[in-house]
């Protein structure tokens, strides 16, 4: 075990090392920048596969931890670690990165390409760091660092309204995360009241128990645990995004370049749900339980509202963006149901949504690159012209609407089943979201691929080329692999999920006896 203690840091900083390399690359080699990016993502993926291999599935708490003193006086240290919750998300990041690069290779001549690939690599470092951090401060650090490359990516290479979209994206996230920062100050200093050195390590914070009084709404709101929970939860639900904090997402998605959209949908949104699962819920369980109905309700509203909005869109990319709002709502419902099955389902759904939304954004990108439009009315009857793309699109649609046998089913079914135990009525409404999801997704498929052709210039449209097919094949393997053999893919998370759910039940149980 000890011999591999640096693997997590290698995973975090490998993209950054490549970014330095990309910055230093001489001018005449600049046309190979994308090859370099691809190599970087492959190296990262190889490291992640190695990590998957050495990950000990019998250990529930954080393993492979790596500790470096950073700012001991302020209780801040560099601690990274991994467990069954972060492992799938790291794997998701590692696999989506090469897929995203493969799927969006030559967008014509990209301006300022060097800067672009540097940001892309920095973004990956930030995402790995957020998933692997085992210290609140470090988590916050990476959480903020992720913002900067995304800000530039949308702002420089985005669409027409890119500046508005990117500033909105940045400010929305900032509001939440700065309140989270105050909560972190409070937590770090509270640890010293418990007789230890000030520390923001997850291991320390999870042992603390903050006063909570749920006898009335006012007393609940004024108890420290509830305030801390709400400060963290706000930061995370903005990122998820949960209705009513979702409005930045369609803007950001529509304006972002395809690579940006893929990363945003596949990984960045998961930072929010990961934060809820890792920090907000287990550290403040009683407050989370107290507010769970609110969050489930908002989650259900998000599912249905997102689905309706998606149905009403004529812009294909916006449709997929709203579908994200809808699908992320399921994760919210699952997380706040406090049921073992639903919690596991939420984790699976994070991965599955990453795959299906990432795939759909790639399809949008393929179409846009060829036809320079995203308007659903401009397509039609493409299936005959581009059959391979039609198949790929179908697979991603099936995954998105949670068809049994696809990965989507593995996520949404346990969520609905588990949370039905705690909130039957609300979950009934959530269940209708699955149907609405099928309606808008199939509508989009029909408008694009089937029906009469609306344009005559579509005959010489070229189908997916080799690397695009490769990208879609990787995703397809995961869609059906997870769909048919979920145990193979998620088996390593079982121990952690088991103990996570048990601990949560114990902690919340103390509240029940109040």
């Amino acid at each position: 075990m000890e011999t591999h203690s640096h693997i997590l840091s290698w995973i975090i900083f490998t993209p950054l090392l490549f970014a330095t390399l990309a910055l230093l690359i001489p001018h005449k080699f600049e046309k190979h920048l994308r090859t370099l990016t691809l190599i970087q993502t492959l190296v990262s993926a190889a490291l992640a596969i190695f990590l998957y291999g050495i990950f000990d599935s019998t250990v529930a708490p954080l393993q492979l931890t790596h500790f470096i003193q950073w700012l001991p006086e302020w209780g801040i240290n560099y601690i990274v670690g991994i467990d069954g919750i972060s492992l799938p998300l790291v794997m998701l990041t590692a696999f989506m990165a090469p897929v995203a690069i493969l799927g969006t290779w030559p967008h014509g001549d990209l301006k300022k390409e060097k800067f672009f690939v540097t940001l892309l690599m920095g973004l990956q470092s930030g995402m790995y760091g957020t998933f692997l951090a085992a210290d609140l401060f470090l988590f916050y650090f990476f959480w903020e660092v992720v913002l900067i490359p995304m800000f530039f990516m949308i702002g420089i290479w985005g669409g027409k309204d890119r500046v508005y979209a990117t500033i909105k994206f940045f400010l929305y996230t900032m509001v939440g995360s700065l309140l989270m920062l105050i909560a972190i100050f409070f937590l770090i200093n509270a640890t010293s009241d418990y007789g230890t050195q000030p520390s923001a390590a997850f291991a320390h914070v999870s042992k603390m128990n903050f006063a909570f009084d749920g006898s009335s709404l006012m007393s609940a709101l004024s108890s420290p645990q509830a305030l801390l929970f709400l400060a963290f939860a706000l930061a995370f639900v903005i990122k998820v995004p949960m209705v009513p904090f979702h409005t930045w997402l369609p803007d950001a998605h529509v304006q972002a370049p395809t690579v940006g959209s893929v990363f945003l949908a596949a990984v960045l949104l998961k930072l929010g749900t990961y934060g809820l699962m890792r920090i907000a819920i287990p550290f403040f369980p009683q407050a989370a339980m107290y507010f769970s109905e609110l969050f489930i309700t908002l989650g259900v509203i998000g599912i249905i509202y997102g689905a309706f909005c998606a149905f009403a869109q004529t812009d294909f990319k916006k449709l997929v963006a709203y579908s994200s709002v809808s699908h992320m709502g399921f994760i919210m419902v699952g997380l706040f149901s406090f049921q073992k099955i639903a919690l596991a389902g939420s984790l699976y759904q994070m991965i599955n949504h990453g795959i299906s939304a990432g795939g759909l954004f790639l399809i949008v990108g393929f179409l846009y690159e060829r036809l320079h439009t995203r308007n659903l009315d401009d397509f039609g009857g493409l299936a005959k012209v581009v059959p391979i793309m039609a198949i790929a699109f179908m697979i991603m649609t099936l995954s998105s609407i949670a068809m049994p046998g696809s990965n989507g089913f593995v996520g949404e079914f346990p969520i609905l089943m588990g949370s039905f135990l705690s909130q039957p009525v609300l979950v009934l409404f959530a269940g209708t979201g699955v149907i609405f999801g099928a309606i808008y997704a199939l509508k989009a498929y029909q408008l694009v691929m089937l029906g009469p052709r609306t344009r005559s210039d579509l005959t010489d449209l070229h189908d997916l080329n080799g690397r695009e097919i490769l990208a879609m094949i990787i995703l397809t393997v995961f869609v059906f692999g997870i769909g048919f053999f979920p145990k193979t893919f998620f088996g390593k998370s079982d121990a952690t999920l088991e103990s996570y759910a048990n601990e949560l039940t114990v902690k919340v149980g103390q509240y029940g006896s109040h």
Partner: protein, 491 residues
């Protein structure tokens, strides 16, 4: 009481002289720079070299004092300890960077060679101000510093804004000085002493008379004017905009540090005394003004189009954060660590930002507006990236020293139990993120046009910018050494 005991000047031996050596070096150096500056052709160059040598000697002298952590109480007037030595070192470093920044710009803006000696005189005033515990000496130091800065502000002879700014600053500053002096005399009348420690001891043990509070209010107004807090801020935007950019850099770094350290000193001894119930009103005033500075500075900065003016308003907001930091300190466990750290990081970031602005101004005569920055980052990626780094540091985004500074300051205020104020600070910093980002947006996300500024060439400004960038990143990633150091000296 005889006059001598009021101005207790000690007899100086060699062991005392080495402490005031930096001050002596600066004063002599300033005179020499002044004389050398009269040379017809090479006056600027000679004055530049002389002031650099002077600052280098002073830095060497202060550095050795700091290394040996020697302390000295000179009479009851001047106190030299690790903290003042550190601050002296910082202001000397900042002044050196300002001098670097000035060289090359001085000819273009038609500045006289006296600018170098004025910077040295101003620095001497700052060092004196940070080392004294005596209200009258503080006044004298304030005047030495301010008179130099008034002239520096008005130095840009071919710009009427500069003269306007200088006059405005001079008149208002003169008023503030008068208030300070009158307030000190009232406090003297109430307590019978000018010494801050004795004043504190007096009000802790005896009932303070009414005139003490009146005097305190006057002193407080003067100090709030000097730090540029709301509602004493009206000079800040005009002066920052009107002055030559390197003078603005000087003001936003060294002058800021000095004013705040003096303010903290006065606050600690005259306001943060828990045994006096009436002083809680003064504390609430600081609370309100801190919140008001943050809100006013940040919201007004949004609507600014000229970058120097925008940074001037943002500096009002940063004043608000610093007031919050001082307000939030625990009286029982008085340590200026977070405030000193924040000031240090903020000063360097500001210096970096203003040196870049002076570079960008290079060939332009007018102030740089946002429109002129459109596409600037695309044309000059390195300068654009550096300016972005400084702006992100001011906004307090991780990876930069600004984040560490803000973290420490907000953290200590949370520990002090002032959570509502921190929430205001945090929410207004989100506002600040907007206008800092707007500059980055213009630089990188807008197309360049024929108005886009073209960066000039100035070695001094480039060195200053790279130095500040290095420090910003270095302490943003590995702040431990400086935090430890500042903790040791502020104990």
């Amino acid at each position: 009481m005889d006059l001598i005991s009021l101005f207790p000047l000690a007899v100086l031996g060699p062991s005392e002289v080495k402490f005031i050596m930096p001050l002596l070096i600066l004063s002599f150096g300033a005179v020499i720079a002044l004389l050398l500056g009269t040379h017809k052709e090479k006056g600027h160059f000679f004055a530049f070299v002389a002031s650099l040598i002077t600052l280098g000697l002073a830095i060497y002298q202060t550095g050795s004092l700091l290394m040996n952590s020697e302390t000295l109480q000179l009479g009851k007037v001047l106190e030299f300890n690790s903290l003042t030595n550190f601050l002296t070192l910082i202001s000397l470093l900042l002044s050196s960077i300002t001098v670097l920044l000035t060289y090359g710009q001085d000819q273009k803006e038609g500045l006289l060679s006296e600018i170098y000696s004025l910077i040295l005189f101003g620095t001497a005033g700052m060092i004196l101000m940070m080392s004294t515990n005596h209200l009258l000496f503080m006044f004298i130091a304030l005047e030495i510093m301010s008179l130099a800065v008034y002239v520096l502000v008005a130095m840009r002879r071919n710009s009427q804004f500069s003269s306007e700014a200088g006059l405005k600053y001079f008149i208002l500053g003169g008023l503030a000085s008068a208030l300070f002096l009158y307030g000190s005399s009232l406090v003297f009348g109430a307590t019978g002493t000018f010494d801050l420690a004795q004043i504190m001891a007096f009000i802790e043990t005896q009932q303070a008379p009414m005139i003490y509070f009146i005097g305190l209010a006057l002193i407080l107004s003067a100090m709030l004017f000097k730090v540029g807090a709301f509602p004493f801020h009206s000079w800040v935007p005009d002066v920052y905009q009107g002055a030559v950019t390197n003078v603005t850099a000087f003001m936003s770094s060294s002058v800021k540090i000095t004013a705040f350290m003096a303010f903290a000193n006065i606050y600690h001894h005259m306001i943060a005394v828990p045994t006096v119930p009436e002083l809680s009103h003064f504390k609430s005033i600081i609370w309100v003004l801190s919140a008001a500075s943050m809100i006013y500075g940040n919201f007004v900065a949004i609507s600014q189009n000229e970058i120097k003016r925008m940074l001037a308003f943002s500096t009002i907001a940063h004043t608000g954060y610093l007031l919050m930091g001082i307000y939030g300190l625990k009286v029982s466990d008085w340590s200026l660590q977070p405030v000193v750290l924040y000031l240090f990081f903020y000063a360097l970031t500001n210096l970096g930002a203003f040196s870049l602005i002076s570079l960008i101004e290079g060939r332009n005569q007018k102030d740089i507006t946002l429109d002129q920055l459109a596409g600037f980052g695309t044309n000059s990626p390195v300068l654009g990236a550096l300016l972005s780094l400084f702006l992100l540091s001011m906004a307090g985004i991780p990876l930069t020293s600004g984040f560490i500074g803000k973290y420490g300051l907000f953290n200590s205020t949370v520990v002090g139990g002032e959570i509502p104020l921190v929430v205001i600070a945090v929410l207004t910093s989100v506002v600040s993120v907007y206008y800092y980002l707007r500059v980055i947006v213009y630089m990188f996300m807008k197309e360049s046009n024929n108005e886009t500024a073209v960066a000039g060439v100035s070695k001094g400004a480039s060195i200053a910018a790279f130095l500040s960038a290095f420090v910003t990143l270095q302490f943003g990633l590995f702040p431990n050494s400086i935090i430890q150091l500042v903790r040791l000296i502020t104990r």
